[in-house]
């Protein structure tokens, strides 16, 4: 018989896995917002595209159905290849979206750029909808049988994999933004774009970098979604994207550690409310908590960091 503590621990394990995925996705919202003060709705469906790219790579490696289970080096190779290709393709997609749809209207005030991102988001959505005949597709599950059971708390191998991937990517992003020359230029641009430019920073390059990094992380999150839920579909961007966006706002939009914290919290809130209340109420609870936090702490938990406008 499973005890209440074990049940709670089980939901914490599940919540941390979902939360890691939301955190990766939330980072893309926050990176772009921090620099352009723009909410990039195309990000939802860059994530969705990421799951399909991951699927295509795994299928190309012969890991077609859910019955193919790999071990050892071939497993690591397949997952690493899928991760790298997915992140590259999504990163480039993000850069192209910025270059061709957003850069031409840089400096235009008002919501036009945001509305453009909604348009781009729908284009991606509909392209995949048509290409897949609106079908949900099976996603390979190469780690299917490799689970650990600790006092009735099941930790699945793919959850551990998700934590490892997310941890590496988040630490990597944090170090990049903190220490690298381009990362410092990103922070400087976020804090005062005009001053950064007058130090010799190429602001276009900084914006491209933010889109590349954010979209690549969305790609990784898309691959994680497929591995975790074992399916993908044209419509997955909406609910995951909205929760990740909520996570970014909850942590403080524009704030990189805030997005990570917000993502983990949203993941935990989702699994806990599904367990203790009801799955159908999970979204209601997530967004109620968001509203409460914003009423009492409008800048989010760690503080919003919007660009300075002079």
């Amino acid at each position: 018989m499973i005890t209440p503590i074990e049940l709670f621990a089980q939901q914490a394990v599940n919540g941390l896995s979902l939360g890691a995925m939301y955190a990766l996705l939330a980072l893309g919202f926050t990176l772009v917002y921090g620099i352009l003060e723009l909410i990039n709705f195309a990000h939802f469906n860059v994530f969705m595209i990421g799951s399909f790219v991951g699927l295509i790579v795994l299928q190309a490696l012969g890991i077609a159905g859910q019955s193919v289970v790999l071990h050892g080096a071939p497993l690591i190779f397949a997952l690493l290849l899928a991760l790298i290709v997915t992140m590259l393709v999504c990163g480039i997609l993000g850069v192209l979206i910025e270059r061709f749809t957003l850069r031409p209207m840089r400096g235009v005030r008002g919501p036009m750029a945001m509305i453009t991102t909604i348009g781009v988001s729908y284009i991606l959505y509909n392209v995949v909808l048509l290409a897949t005949n609106a079908q949900a597709l099976n996603f390979p599950d190469p780690l299917a049988t490799q689970d650990f059971d600790i006092h009735h708390v099941v930790i699945r191998a793919k959850q551990i994999l998700i934590w490892i991937i997310s941890l590496i990517l988040m630490v990597g992003l944090d170090q990049f933004v903190r220490r690298s020359r381009l990362g410092k230029a990103m922070r400087a641009t976020a804090q005062d774009a005009e001053a950064a430019r007058m130090m010799g920073v190429d602001v276009d390059r900084v914006v491209s970098t933010a889109f590349f990094a954010g979209s690549a992380l969305a790609g990784a999150a898309g691959l994680i979604f497929g591995l975790y839920y074992n399916f993908t579909q044209y419509s997955i961007g909406y609910s995951a994207g909205l929760r990740a966006f909520t996570a970014a706002v909850l942590g403080g939009i524009g704030n990189v550690p805030g997005a990570m914290l917000g993502g983990i919290l949203i993941g935990l809130i989702e699994t806990m409310s599904s367990q203790y209340i009801a799955t159908k109420w999970a979204d209601v609870i997530i967004f109620s908590i968001l509203i409460l936090v914003l009423v009492f702490k409008p800048a989010g938990l760690l503080g919003a960091l919007a660009p300075n406008r002079s």
Binding site: K184, A195, M198, M199, G200
Partner: protein
Amino acid sequence: MSDIPLLQFMAVNTYYGDLHVLKDVDYTINKGEIVVLLGGNASGKSTTMKTIMGVVQPRSGRVLFEGTRIDQSATAARVKRGIMPVLEARRLFPRMSVFENLEMGAYTRRSKAEFAADLELVYALFPRVKERRGQLAGTLSGGEQQMVAIGRALMGRPKLICMDEPSMGLSPLFVEQVFATIQDINRQGISIFMVEQNAAMALSIAHRGYVLQTGRVVLSGSAADLAANPAIQDAYLGEMVVD
């Protein structure tokens, strides 16, 4: 010393949309000079600085740096040529450390050895900046921020520093210190083009000056002549200018 001016504006016209801000403006800054730009609000002083840095582009006329046209080049290219700003209200990166702000000043310069040498110079000039190097720039006092802003400009190894209101918001004691520092920097061979409300102080250290009125240069001459000019005394020296 060659006789090519360091910086030259030739009949420059700058607009913001339909608003004509700089009207047929000519300036000449020679190597080794401190030149002050005086003028009331909305006379085009800050636009002059932005035109030099390439944040706004002139619609007509030429801007030359060491004899080369720069009015169409990107801001980064101008920084690489040796023009650095000290911006109005300092404009440090508030959530970056003092050290990181100085690093941003050296953004276009990749040599680590030169960076280390320049850093030592800035620390020698401002021991206070060295003390505060790990602190977030936004937490410094106004005076300390101004030291960092000047240090940040020096990290770019400039030939010309464009200063926009370096005394703004500083205590009188500190204003004197800033102007003494500007003279120090100038003695090292760096030219200064400075917009300044505190005309008396600015003219006391400058070699020459220009007076801008609604986008036109209405007077220019040596700092001593300008300081002695009754029109200047009435407009800029007679009263305390309070923000």
